[in-house]
């Protein structure tokens, strides 16, 4: 199969598939903005993750971008097209995969793709050929004539992904795409999403509650809450630069004397020391060089040592707090 050549490859330099500028959305009757001055850009081939607790404004942001919610202020441009001013045209440029299976239950898997292509202006012959190709590519050829409500969660998501890509959008919106999938299906879907970057050059905006998903899949991540972006960077940089913590756990032959604990507390970078029997947990923000110091402080009494890397989750919690959301 030949590579897809879309708008994104022939566009002028500085071409931005998705640009959100000062987006505000206040729902009628609400006292606060669901999205409150959000700006971000996603470039060609980039997978961009939007993380945030429930009610942070992720879904509203996507809903505006996919032309289903009117913005109160600000603009969203898809490949240069203003989604509020030219909604029908903007829908040409975007594909959506939601957590829920929204495949057309009255049609077979193949027919779902075929009619999608037809909605986007392909002739019957082109739509037939393109649907066949998509079934092959997404490993759905054997399910071609199956009714979509008989598909497993993983296959349904693959079919939705195939459908979302069928009209070669510039931007793909994935709204918690793996939330209800088993681990195998999740890994398979990740592979497909990664493949999009090289193969289709499509920009991806992904929302997820899975920190692992954001960490492993996304090139950049924005953590948002109360409608605003709190931090935006690569997952690695977020973990390095923010108040993420590394935990070093030590197991000793005997409970440590208080003097040893004080000595550990005095080491550079140590934030907190918790002692439980013969175990010590050392929480630190800057771990570089700490472990050798710990080892020499504890001396021969050390039985075991483990280090937990900072996670995106610890970054997320430190930014958004532990309070439960509705």
């Amino acid at each position: 199969m030949s590579r897809v050549i879309g708008l994104y490859h022939s566009g002028p330099s500085g071409y931005v598939p998705l640009s959100i500028d000062g987006l505000v959305k206040r729902y009628p009757g609400s006292s606060r903005n669901a999205v409150d001055g959000l700006s971000l850009e996603v470039s060609v081939g980039e997978i961009f993750g939007l993380l945030g607790p429930n009610g942070a404004g992720k879904t509203t942001t996507i809903s505006v971008a996919v032309t289903r919610t009117r913005p109160t202020a600000g603009t969203v441009r898809l490949a240069g097209t203003d989604v509020a001013a030219q909604a029908a045209r903007a829908r040409r440029r975007l594909g959506v995969v939601t957590q829920a299976n929204t495949l057309d239950r009255s049609l077979s898997v193949w027919e779902n793709l075929y009619f999608h292509c037809r909605y986007f202006g392909l002739s019957r012959r082109e739509a037939r050929r393109h649907s066949d190709e998509l079934l092959e590519r997404f490993g759905l050829a054997e399910r071609r004539d199956e009714r979509v409500d008989r598909l497993s969660g993983g296959l349904a998501q693959r079919a939705q992904l195939a459908r979302a890509l069928a009209h070669k959008p510039s931007v793909l919106f994935l709204d918690e795409p793996t939330a209800s999938l088993d681990p195998q299906s999740r890994l398979a879907l990740w592979d497909h999403v990664r493949g999009l970057r090289e193969r289709d050059g499509v920009a991806v905006l992904l929302t997820t509650h899975s920190m692992e998903e954001a960490d492993r899949l996304c090139d950049r991540v924005a953590i948002m809450d109360h409608g605003r972006v709190l931090a935006c960077d690569t997952p690695g940089a977020l973990k390095r630069n923010l108040t993420a913590t590394t935990t070093v756990r030590l197991r000793l032959q005997a409970p440590p004397p208080p003097a040893l604990l004080d000595q550990v507390r005095a080491l550079r970078g140590v934030e907190r020391v918790v002692n439980d029997g013969n175990r010590i947990e050392v929480v630190t923000a800057a771990r570089d060089g700490l472990v050798p110091h710990l080892v020499s402080a504890v001396g021969a009494g050390l039985l075991d040592l483990s280090v937990s890397e900072p996670t995106l989750e610890s970054v997320f919690i430190s930014l958004t707090g532990r309070k439960l959301r509705d």
Binding site: V4, I5, R91, R118, G121, E133, H167
Partner: protein, 274 residues
């Protein structure tokens, strides 16, 4: 793979997408032609079988006669009218309510690159075609089954065509309105409480003029859109029976179609765009 980028600007895309939305509905209909036939044919067939075939055979031949015309002649326009009318509910309201509900399977059609109103209009247009098909199926049935010959005479082809087309669109828009406003868990109830009174008080089984002896009812049923469909068809098909002036019934149908069309397109857009 096919190059899509350059060929599909909206001006060219709109008719193609509109046709595709209709093609999708046609495919779904062709998946289950029997269900279309059964829901269209069963009710009028049972009615004419019992009241215009069986009754004369069991000695109740004059049942339902109006102005010297037998019941078969009286009900033919009415049964064609209700066949047209209820396609709108079956072909639009019921599926739409479900597709907007738990499965949200309307999504892909809503996201087609055309104005939301056009997606709704495609649904209504295909429903209107089904209405006309239903009329074409029901007509010979209610003409041929009665034991006593049914007397029809097309007094005005324009009235007949206009009445059938307006009624089909009106039915589709009514279906669109109900399908976008009524939640899926309540749709069965709404059907139950609307279909029966609309049919029985829709001048299907008697002409509107014959209600003059029950004046309050004669005025009350003017709120029922099916009345105008039955009466317009009666004017076109069985002019020997008393009927509303076709200009009045067709004007009412036009006005109702416009008002319902406007309202239903609004509720549809409201449903898909917040």
């Amino acid at each position: 793979m096919t190059e899509l980028s350059n060929r599909s600007e909206p001006w060219r895309l709109t008719p193609a997408a509109f046709a595709a939305l209709i093609a999708r509905d046609l495919r779904v209909l062709l998946h289950m032609p029997a269900s279309f036939l059964l829901r269209t044919v069963l009710n009028p067939l049972m009615f004419v079988f019992v009241f215009t075939y069986l009754y004369p055979h069991i000695g109740a031949g004059r049942f339902g006669e109006v102005a010297g015309q037998n019941l078969g002649t009286v009900v033919l326009p009415g049964l064609v009218a209700s066949a047209i009318f209820f396609q709108g509910l079956n072909a639009v309201a019921l599926p739409l309510s479900m597709e907007f509900g738990a499965t949200r399977e309307i999504e892909d059609r809503v996201m087609a690159p055309v104005a939301y109103g056009l997606t709704a209009l495609a649904k209504v247009c295909f429903s209107a075609l089904q209405s006309l098909l239903a009329a074409a199926i029901v007509f010979p049935l209610v003409y041929l089954v009665p034991a006593v010959p049914v007397r029809i005479q097309v007094s005005s082809w324009p009235t007949l065509v206009l009445a059938a087309v307006l009624a089909s669109l009106l039915a589709g828009f009514l279906g669109l309105l109900l399908g976008t406003v009524v939640e899926v868990r309540k749709i069965a109830l709404v059907f139950a409480v609307t279909i029966v009174p609309i049919t029985f008080l829709g001048c299907v089984y008697y002409p509107w003029a014959s209600l003059h002896s029950v004046r309050w009812l004669q005025i009350l049923v003017l709120a029922n859109p099916l009345v105008y469909v039955s009466e317009a068809l009666r004017a076109a098909l069985t002019p020997a029976l008393p009927h509303m002036n076709p200009i009045a019934s067709l004007s009412a149908l036009t006005a109702l179609t416009l008002v319902l069309g406007w309202a239903a397109t609004k509720t549809f857009t409201h449903r898909v765009l917040t």
